[in-house]
């Protein structure tokens, strides 16, 4: 279904979602809601590939509430057998699946105006934005933080470490001795990213120059 690009014709759930941003809350580490998320996709092409699942957990006051976790699986219009071995989601598996539009609706209800966190966040957010755009909706309005930026800034500045290095979720999890049992399920990766967020911000906020805003990604990244 395509919507005309006039604001009043946006569906109600989008209006409700926008409504959350009206309070213009100043985002703070100790009080704001953060949503750590991960998507599993059929591949890395933003036009061809599709999301298979979205997993997320929310963090408030440095706590993760298990009951407030988010986990959905999407019907697959595009199937890429090459990535099945990574995410383990089959096209006709027995997990309950919903349509992309349904998924996006539920996701918007879940995130509200939370600050979104993900590892290599630009990728996941762009995937979600692509889905929104396909439905005739604009991009997400939320602030976004990449846990890799957080981690990179906890590392000492040293000439012996390559500063351009892109730390993978596995690298960081290993450095922090986080269990890797649930790698490559959306929820599992979201939880790992949440731990990395909690740990890195604990370290970073000790510096008087730390500002959460400095880590918000520019919206042209996705």
């Amino acid at each position: 279904m395509l919507w005309n690009f006039k604001k009043k014709q946006y569906p109600d759930y989008w209006k409700t979602y926008l409504h959350h941003f009206e309070k213009k809350e100043k985002k703070k580490l100790n009080t704001s809601r953060f949503v750590s998320l991960d998507t599993e996709t059929t591949g890395f092409d933003f036009y061809i590939d599709r999301m298979l699942s979205i997993g997320a957990v929310s963090i408030i006051e440095n706590r993760i509430t298990v009951a407030d976790a988010f986990e959905i699986y999407l019907e697959q219009s595009h199937f890429n057998p090459e990535t099945v071995h990574i995410h383990g989601i089959l096209q006709h598996g027995f997990k309950k699946k919903i349509s992309e539009e349904e998924a996006i609706q539920q996701f918007l209800i879940y995130i509200e105006d939370a600050v979104l966190i993900a590892h290599h966040a630009a990728f996941d957010i762009k995937m979600i934005n692509q889905a929104l755009n396909r439905m005739g909706l604009p991009n997400l309005k939320n602030k976004v933080i990449d846990t890799m930026d957080l981690y990179a800034n906890t590392r000492i500045k040293s000439n012996f470490i390559d500063n351009r290095i892109r730390y993978s979720l596995d690298d960081i999890a290993e450095a922090y001795a986080i269990n890797l049992e649930d790698r490559h399920t959306a929820s599992g990766d979201a939880l790992i990213a949440a731990f990395i967020f909690l740990k890195t911000t604990t370290i970073l906020k000790k510096s008087k120059t730390f500002k959460l805003e400095d880590y918000f990604l520019k919206s042209n990244r996705f």
Binding site: A67, E71, K95, F160, L191
Partner: protein, 639 residues
């Protein structure tokens, strides 16, 4: 909605009592309501006197100390670790918390609402029993043991300072019991003992203990020729076995052993020889629990069978260190003992990791420790700095050989991290391909550092020149030492640069004889004893050692002692340097023990006047040594 995270939490908590008694559905009902909390080190979960939260806690990762003020001194009354539950009793008793619960290391906790847990209790008799037992054992000993998961195998971690309570505590027995059948051949019994490094084997029949074969039986009945190794165990075993229920106290177990002249007791379900074996208590276990003495710890390290066990032993080494510091034992002795224990711990880890590899090392190798560990100055838990040198191989085999050692290093680095040696922030670890090199490659590397020397090279030199072999073939490291002396011998340019770098942190006292403190970051207004005092003195020591061909001495204090021998005219000065290096190390260690960290940053306001004076005296020596370096080495061109 499916909740994978709740399922994973179920997978974890179902391993620990009382949750092992619950059905999958009940578990899921609980874990869905869990909150996960991340806490850094030294944070309170709750404090004494606080109104109970509506939830209790289970440790997923990390460790918690329960502390209480006893005779106006805060004492640790129990230490809990992964899988243990705490903060439950006050909820039932409707009392305020009787202790502080403090994170001893960074921890991830699951908090479980009582409201979800309570309804399940009434339906499950096993859980009721577990709770009653736990709470009952508490009444005897009200300040200890909130609730212990009983899965922890071979716990060594007992708090040293509650000696009065100690006698009545139940014994922590070994749960992985090695058993054999009566018809097992004696030689197989011997093999079994060797493999598991134990001194006794329980002989069972249908899970019921029928006898025990110990070292003494082998000595008295086999070596004497009475029996051959082809005979069966039942012919030499002692029977019946002394059995006790698991609640037997430490003192009771010990008295029984003395009375019957035995070194092992068997723990059975109902405490009689007619029920199932659930554990074994050895004299050794009790000795280990009783004391933090170096010999016992060393033995425990050598017998350790898991990383977790080593982690507990490491904690006890810290208790020992604390004792040494309190009793003001000379630092030289303290360093040596702690070094030996740490060294044995690392060796044990390497040994175990080699066993875990699919094959033996393809060529000989050595595990090298750098920096403070290489200088034998590492008393506290600090970062790991290490590397591997292996025998030079043909170019076409090089990468395959390196792959093997990197895989091995990865295992070792990971376990060192698990027991408390943090990963090196600059990645100076053997798992980094840059520091897992063949002998020729290392030589090349040192050539490069000493011939084409920039600031980075000097910095690296200061870390790598203090290497010490921890494990493996000493020929390799000796070759490397020789090589380094060869290439630095008449390399005045390099020595001058090294000298200049030894001066890079100027005297730690500012213009008005104030301490220079940190300007920003987590340690604003703290004094960085490592950067401003320990590094200058150890840099100086290294410089003197290299330029005066002092071989095989890495320890800074010892290097200066050697200098005093070489230059008797300046003996007093060099000995004062040696003293300064020890004093600073002691300072750092005390600070570290006080704050449960690496002691690097010192809060000046917390120091006594006397301590400040002492520090300032050390700084004077550092200033003098730096003056001497300026005079002796042609450094002006490099400043």
């Amino acid at each position: 909605m499916k909740n994978t995270i709740a399922e994973r939490i179920s997978d974890f908590i179902k391993n620990f009592p009382p949750f092992d008694q619950l059905s999958k559905g009940d578990l899921y009902a609980i874990t869905k309501e869990v909150t996960i909390t991340y806490l850094e080190k030294d944070k309170n979960v709750y404090v004494e006197g606080e109104v109970p939260h509506d939830r209790f806690y289970m440790i997923h990762k990390g460790a918690i100390a329960l502390k209480k003020v006893i005779n106006s001194k805060q004492e640790t009354i129990d230490r809990l670790d992964e899988g243990d539950i705490f903060g439950l009793r006050p909820l039932f008793a409707k009392e305020n918390y009787a202790t502080d619960a403090v994170t001893e290391e960074e921890s991830i906790l699951y908090s479980i609402p009582l409201a979800t847990f309570k309804p399940l209790i009434s339906q499950n008799k096993d859980i009721v029993d577990f709770l009653i037992e736990s709470f009952a054992s508490n009444t005897e000993n009200p300040f200890s043991k909130e609730l212990h998961g009983t899965l922890i195998d071979h716990r060594l971690d007992l708090v040293a300072n509650d000696k009065e309570l100690f006698e009545l505590q139940p014994v922590r027995y070994t749960k992985k019991v090695i058993t054999a059948k009566g018809e097992t051949k004696i030689k197989d019994i011997g093999q079994l003992m060797k493999r598991h490094r134990i001194g006794s084997i329980i002989i069972e029949n249908d899970h019921v203990p029928v006898g025990i074969v110990t070292d003494a039986d082998l000595r008295n009945k086999v070596i004497t020729g009475e029996h051959t190794i082809e005979d069966s165990a039942s012919q030499i075993m002692s029977t019946p076995v002394l059995c006790y229920p698991k609640s037997v106290s430490i003192s009771q177990a010990q008295l029984t052993m003395m009375k019957h002249h035995v070194s092992h007791l068997c723990v059975t379900e109902d405490g009689t020889p007619n029920s199932k074996i659930i554990g074994v208590i050895s004299q050794q276990d009790i000795t280990v629990m009783r004391g933090s003495n170096p010999t016992v710890l060393m033995k425990a390290i050598k017998r350790s069978k898991s990383t977790k066990e080593l982690k507990h032993i490491r904690k006890r080494i810290m208790v020992l260190l604390e004792g040494f510091m309190e009793q003001n034992i000379p630092l030289t002795q303290t360093s040596k003992i702690i070094f030996e224990l740490n060294d044995a711990t690392v060796k044990r880890i390497i040994e175990r990791c080699i066993q875990k590899m699919d094959r033996q090392p393809p060529v000989s190798f050595a595990w090298m420790s750098f920096g403070s560990q290489g200088r034998k100055e590492q008393l506290l838990h600090t970062d790991q700095d290490n590397g591997i040198v292996f025998e030079s191989v043909k170019e076409n085999e090089l990468e395959a050989v390196r792959d093997y050692f990197m895989l091995l290093a990865k295992k070792i680095n990971k376990r060192l991290n698990a027991i408390g040696f943090d990963f090196c922030p600059a990645d100076i670890m053997a798992k980094n391909p840059k520091w897992c090199l063949g002998l020729d490659e290392w030589k090349q590397q040192f050539n490069q550092w000493t011939s084409n020397t920039g600031n980075d090279e000097i910095l690296l030199s200061s870390i790598f020149f203090d290497f010490d072999i921890t494990y493996g073939d000493a020929n390799l490291t000796n070759h490397l030492s020789e090589h380094i002396f060869e290439i630095t011998k008449n390399n005045h340019l390099f020595l001058s640069k090294l000298a200049a770098s030894a001066l890079r942190s100027a005297s730690p006292l500012g213009f008005f004889r104030q301490f220079l403190v940190e300007q920003d970051g987590a340690y604003k207004d703290f004094f960085d004893i490592k950067k401003r005092a320990i590094m200058p003195i150890s840099d100086a020591g290294r410089l003197f050692a290299l330029s005066n061909h002092i071989k095989n001495i890495n320890n800074t204090a010892e290097r200066f002692e050697r200098m005093a021998e070489l230059f008797p005219e300046d003996k007093e000065f060099y000995l004062s340097c040696s003293y300064t290096s020890k004093a600073l190390l002691k300072f750092r260690t005390k600070q570290g023990l006080l704050h449960n960290d690496d002691g690097r940053f010192i809060e000046l306001s917390a120091l006594t006047k006397e301590e400040k004076m002492k520090l300032k005296r050390c700084f004077k020596t550092i200033a003098k040594v730096q003056e001497l370096i300026k005079l002796k080495y042609n450094v002006n061109n490099f400043m």
